[in-house]
Amino acid sequence: MKALFRHRELQLVAVILVMVGLIALRFPTFVAPASLGNVFNDTSILIILALGQMTVILTKCVDLSTAATLALCGMVAAMLNNLYPDLPVLLLVLVAILTGALLGAINGLMVWRLDMPPIVVTLGTMTIYRGIIFLISGGKWINAHEMTDSFKAVPRADIAGIPVLSWLALLVIAVMAVGLRRLRTGRAFYAVGGNPHAAVYTGIDVGYTRFLSFVISGALSGLAGYLWIARYAVAYVDIALGFELDVVAACVIGGVSIAGGIGTVYGAVLGALFLGTIKNALPVINISPFWQLAISGSVIILAVAFNARAERRKGRVILKKAEVSA
């Protein structure tokens, strides 16, 4: 039992269940299946972004440009939809994903080829990408009536009683879970973050692996960009401003170590769901949404303190006898 609770994922599940249970005591409607499904659906975009971010963090990097990438890709898709309403939606989704991958590749190339610290690179591209949205849109909004109905309908469309948005999140979870566990490239992300020097000796190209992680993060941000714009049916410069903090928070809460090499897909998903539950519960229990920022901040700090403790315990005593005699 004790060993079971040492798992980060199970601890998180327990915390989320307790939280939901406490809310349900006062507001039973919150735990209705439809309402819980809604929480997952609301958190889908955060989950998709968190899984991209996790790949980057696994390699000892960080991507602060995710929210800006999301907004830029969403704007590109929305403008194309506005200018050429006849283009099929699937093509627009592809364009958004590829644009995201390209933006991620720019980040990745600077980290890989120029050996620049990822935090500086992505702090810089964060403002540049957002600035580009202003340049291409002229600061104008694209409102619901300027988008085609089919463009807006996709995330809401129903398959087997579950919206496409949720299905996409489930798909990304499944692909990432299998990919990070089973694929050689997936294992490389862990190896690079766990010990870059050792990774080199096992034949892994550290720089290239980091580059790949940024491309994945960018591509997922691109997908999330389309979903965000289509779901909320509006595109403007400041969309998802500051959302990168939520994404990093979801990872840290989910037990992904900022020092790289540690973290699971399920942890990151649970971390995102934890934040999503809080976000959805605040209006239900009648707390002003202005509390949200401070709550996520405190949770980040608590989570990172918690992570540090969990990771420290992993140290092994190699010279047991010497330790005892000393």
Binding site: V120, L293, I301
Partner: protein, 337 residues
Amino acid sequence: MSAPSTRGETRLVPDRLQGRAERLLKSWEALLLAVAIAIFALNVWSSPYFLDPWNLSDATFNFTEKGLIAFALALVIVSGEIDLSVAAILALSSTLMGLAMSHGAGTPEIVAIGLLTGLACGAINGMLVSGLGLPSIVVTIGTMSLFRGIAFIILGDKAFTGYPVDFAWFGQGYVWWVFSFELLLFVVAAILFAVLLHATSFGRMVYAIGNNAVAAQFSGIRVERVKFLLFLLSGLMSGLAAVCLTSRLGSTRPSIATGWELEAVTMAVLGGINILGGSGRIGGVVLAALIMGMVTFGFGLLNVPGIVMSIFVGLLLILVIALPKLIGRLGRAKRKA
């Protein structure tokens, strides 16, 4: 004469050391000075309004407050840490000053509360980083949300206005002719920080920690205490910047100074502070502050919108780090050929 290095390249030992003058000319600061002069000239050439003394005086407000933050941040970065919460500390300080004002506090109390809030926030960062040994980048991302979040909880979508008339002096007052109080503060802070970093044993400790924290620990430096003090200093300077900015604007919104952490980091890095810690000088940060202030002001005179300026800041941040690496690589390739 060559000594084999671990990377397999041969390292040449020069016949003679660089002279003092040569070293100065080749330094990062010399390059910055040249850029600053070029931008000044470009501004004079592109706008007839630039050279007016009062206009120039107005231009200094573009960098004084950010510069105050950047000095302390530079020290934090030299020690190998980072503080991304500076702008959020500013917002919280400003909000608490507004709260005190709305409860009838006078100017001295308001200023004291601004500075103390900064100190308290810095102490929280410092305790989390040096006390618990947590990575400063995540901690300050967390406290960035927390501090600004508290400002949002207090203010919501409202604003504090109606600060006392004499409080306005900190941000709007002039010491002599066109020289503002903020400019004086900037100069004094620059001198104090330059002395602290370059002429005291504390400054040497900061460099030692940034270069090799473990070695510093073994050589008897109390690494954790120095780091704690640096975060405290960073908080205090953010509080000071909050006093200046709040007084200059005469109002507080929770979104005050959004994105300033980026500009402060850019200022430090542009000034030649190594983002990985261990090297950099305050003189460079002063020049970087001047450059960024002049560019912002020049763009403003040319009616360039703010968000385009932020693209420029982002590009600057990346280019400043990328260019030396690219040039170094080209130089190596040439030597090999």
